[in-house]
Assembly symmetry: C2
Homo-oligomer: 526 residues x 2
């Protein structure tokens, strides 16, 4: 497999010389309707990726297909899921897709079949969750646990939290919310204290998540929580399980009720479908619902093998994003889900994308001379419409938009008010926004003038449910992966988070000088 820098590819030059598409013209009139009909890619589980309002036409798509072929994107994907050392910096395999399906050859590493390993951990988590729900694993007083609290940070927090919030209300109305879940992440003691003050510790099971077993924030919060458990006259080892790697100090440790394993081939931000998400989500929703999330993700992973960009939504989404970033000069991307359940999904995607592709060196450690990962931010619509959309519509900066919408709400019980339901109003708003951004509006009053030409895509699903949620998760994971391939990055390490850790340790050891001492004094640390 050849790994070349993006600007060494022939298609790079072709993209550079393309005439940009004028969205405003393209989306007007019947031609616009035709684009909406044609410029869509089927996804799994009844979902569709629509890219009609992007700066592309058949000519651009042709070159993007050439880029996909020339950069051998699906072949690189195959290398990845077949067990090559894709994480070059840390010399690791990258196997998160294997947590939800077998896409290619058996991957044998550390002497085991990795798919079987991940499945076995899922089965163990399922068995454990079933025992908790059945009252077979109980507290010291023989009573059932009612609440599960995840202690983790970064990938051990954002993904599982986003998925939990995405399905919490769906689970309530579908009678499958087995336990309420909460999350402690920040080393700010107020985070743990607030969660602890909101739960009944005696009926709570804590899920401690740290791959290395050495994450400062997580171990600090573990001690914090154990202290609270002891203060309640209880035994911490009867209230906590660990999710970690088999080689960590937390593994098989009698301080925990049980331990569940992932390994070094699952990056934190890609770990929602491993035991990192599996234990808490199986406890919260039951193993069956969790399995449905995995199925949705597996379906989407399978579609990502398609070499035709018109049949591979993740790859096309990735390529359009690259075109916007490198040739149209757009520096950030907003993720705008029209579904309250997805309230924290943008925060997960922010980590997924910015931590994966926010890099300046290629997979060989050589500096690249083109822009890489964009800034990602977002909030649910319609809330954002009454907030930062002003800049998106009329600001001096163009921000590409990634909408997500569903035909049905999660909780049913919708009522018509002035002839339309809330769900119809919600969907009408996202349709309206896409067109307002694309086509703008002329006005004699320049204050009311909308230039248009602001690109967006939308993923539309039937309902935010376990399968569609899993599919959505995998779509974005695969999008980010494909973009990393184009930019020739290692999307699976995160060396940029290390320096801060080292310096924080110095401060805590009072081993500082210069401005670090001065800031420590300003902050009154000692």
């Amino acid at each position: 497999m050849e790994w070349k820098n993006f600007d060494q590819l022939e298609s790079y030059g072709k993209l550079e010389s393309l005439e940009p598409v004028d969205i405003k013209t393209a989306m007007a009139g019947e031609n616009g309707a035709k684009r909406v009909e044609e410029y869509r890619v089927p996804m799994s589980n009844g979902m569709v990726y629509s890219f009609a309002a992007k700066n592309v036409d058949d000519k651009v798509l042709e070159v993007l297909q050439e880029l996909a072929d020339e950069a051998a994107l699906t072949e690189k994907y195959a290398e990845l899921y077949n067990g090559a050392v894709i994480n070059t910096g840390e010399k690791r395999l990258v196997l998160h897709q294997l947590t939800r399906g077998q896409l290619g050859e058996d991957v044998i590493a550390d002497g085991v079949n990795k798919r079987e390993f991940y499945v076995s951990q899922q089965s163990r988590a399922a068995e454990f969750a079933n025992k908790v729900h059945a009252g077979e694993v109980v507290n010291e007083a023989g009573e059932k646990f009612t609440t599960a609290v995840q202690i983790g940070i970064g990938g051990s927090d954002l993904g599982p939290r986003a998925l939990y919030l995405s399905l919490e209300n769906w689970a309530k109305v579908n009678n499958t919310l087995k336990m309420e879940a909460k999350f402690i992440s920040n080393v700010d003691p107020d985070d743990a204290l607030a969660v602890l003050s909101s739960i009944d510790i005696a009926h709570t099971i804590f899920v401690l998540v740290s791959k290395s077993g050495t994450t400062l924030e997580t171990l600090t919060n573990e001690s914090f929580v154990k202290n609270a458990i002891k203060n309640a006259g209880l035994d911490p080892s009867k209230h906590m399980v660990a999710v970690t790697s088999e080689t960590s100090p937390l593994a098989g440790n009698p301080d925990y009720l049980d331990s569940f394993y992932m390994d070094d081939y699952i990056g934190g931000r890609y770990s929602s479908t491993s035991a990192v998400g599996g234990v808490i989500l199986s406890l919260a929703f039951g193993p069956d619902v969790y399995a449905r999330i995995l199925k949705g993700a597996a379906d989407e992973d399978a579609l990502a093998k398609n070499t035709d960009i018109r049949q591979n939504s993740a790859m096309l989404d990735a390529l359009i994003g690259v075109y916007e970033r490198n040739f149209l000069g757009y520096e950030s991307t907003a993720v705008l889900p029209y579904s309250q359940g997805l309230s924290r999904f943008p925060a997960h995607l922010q980590q997924l994308d910015m931590e994966s592709n926010g890099k300046s060196v290629n997979r060989f450690g050589e500096e690249v001379s083109y822009a890489t990962g964009p800034v990602i931010f977002g909030e649910p619509g319609t809330n954002g419409q009454h907030s930062f959309y002003q800049l998106l519509h009329q600001g001096t900066t163009i921000v590409p938009l990634q909408f997500v919408g569903f035909k049905n709400n999660q909780m049913g019980n919708d009522i018509p008010i002035q002839d339309t339901t809330s769900q119809q109003k919600l969907s009408a708003n996202v349709a309206a926004q896409i067109m307002a951004f694309a086509c703008g509006k002329d006005d004699e009053n320049p204050n009311k003038y909308f230039a248009g030409g602001r690109p967006s895509s939308i993923i539309v699903g039937e309902q935010l449910a376990p399968e569609s949620l899993g599919a959505l998760l995998a779509h974005f994971e695969n999008k980010v992966m494909f973009q990393g391939f184009v930019w020739n990055l290692n999307s699976f390490d995160q060396e940029g988070v290390q320096l801060g850790k080292v310096l924080a340790k110095k401060v805590l050891a009072k081993d500082t000088d210069g401005a670090l001492t001065a800031y420590s004094e300003l902050l009154g640390i000692f």
Copy 2:
């Protein structure tokens, strides 16, 4: 008063020709320590704005002072608080500072003294809250209300919600959480349904907030909620108050227990210190705590009158931001509070900043030829460190950083773990991050190389408490205002949100054609 475009000012040219400061060099060694000592501005209520790690030196500061003087920033501020028509597009006064203090002359409008009007509404809200807390205003069964739910969107939601979350845990430990508050904003029916399913409607008072009384989402959610109240066999008019303008259909309407007023001179995103925030926060925390928030904001407003940038943190923060945006080419800014209580403060600032200054025409409606408001995003540290900080440290895009930290946590009860408390760890992390971003690190392994040179500022306070929170709120409001003055924008209208509303109405009326019809079909709206 002369209002000129930024690029018509002499100081614009001077800024353009300045040699950029190399943060990496400037912040190294003892010079860095000296900068941290010297490059700080005192704020009110024991807070400090530190800008040592920004791309400035005495020469740059001198030109920024010239810009402040030439653009007459404090004089424009005085015009604003003395009642000039600063909101030129809508021909309105801009009086949110008057909700918390009298900064200059009496402002008489609509035949009344506006400061007196705002104070009278605060007194009415205080009186009402006291009656609710004392059990003088009760439900149909004569029982006390225990929960308050705000129904509003945009400025009627983000600011009050951010402030509530900022003080919820502080209030718990200080025994001043009078009622739990919740918020309904999104037209997605799942938002209202989730809140309704989590409360005891019989003991809940709803605060309906819409200045115009015509906001689609808010009126829809009102109907939704009223339906639920009726289904519970209760009388909606006994469970709801309105916050609106005196001319709205909601004013003095017998459908509500009471109504409280703001006016057209309070923009939504600047309305937290008006009745929009006052009613819900007085109910939640009691009027005394709310008054302390106002005091903190008033203190900061007074400091913003200072013509010396070294004594006016909001103005200096604004000017450095302008320098970064227009001359260093930085397109976005991250807001990173090291305090879990501020978890939704970045979302409020995102609206405040992007909706105010995300404009392409000046206050006279003429297109400007320079960049205006940046993209704003952020999450609390240390969480962000394990997420998107990778891009901030090693990405190809430089993002200026706005840190906020406190010396003490809110809930007390901190414990030493491995010799340091969680609060010390939290503060050590923010100190470490500032230095990591500023100075970077050389490394033979290019993957572990940090270029540094990434600018940040930090606001440090003693504790996140009502006064410091109010001060923080006003600091950013005034920063955004000063930036709007420099860019010669009208920061107080939001025409960019209108087009989407108009098109959404067309969809709901089935009055569509072209792509709008096609999207409506894709989304299954009818």
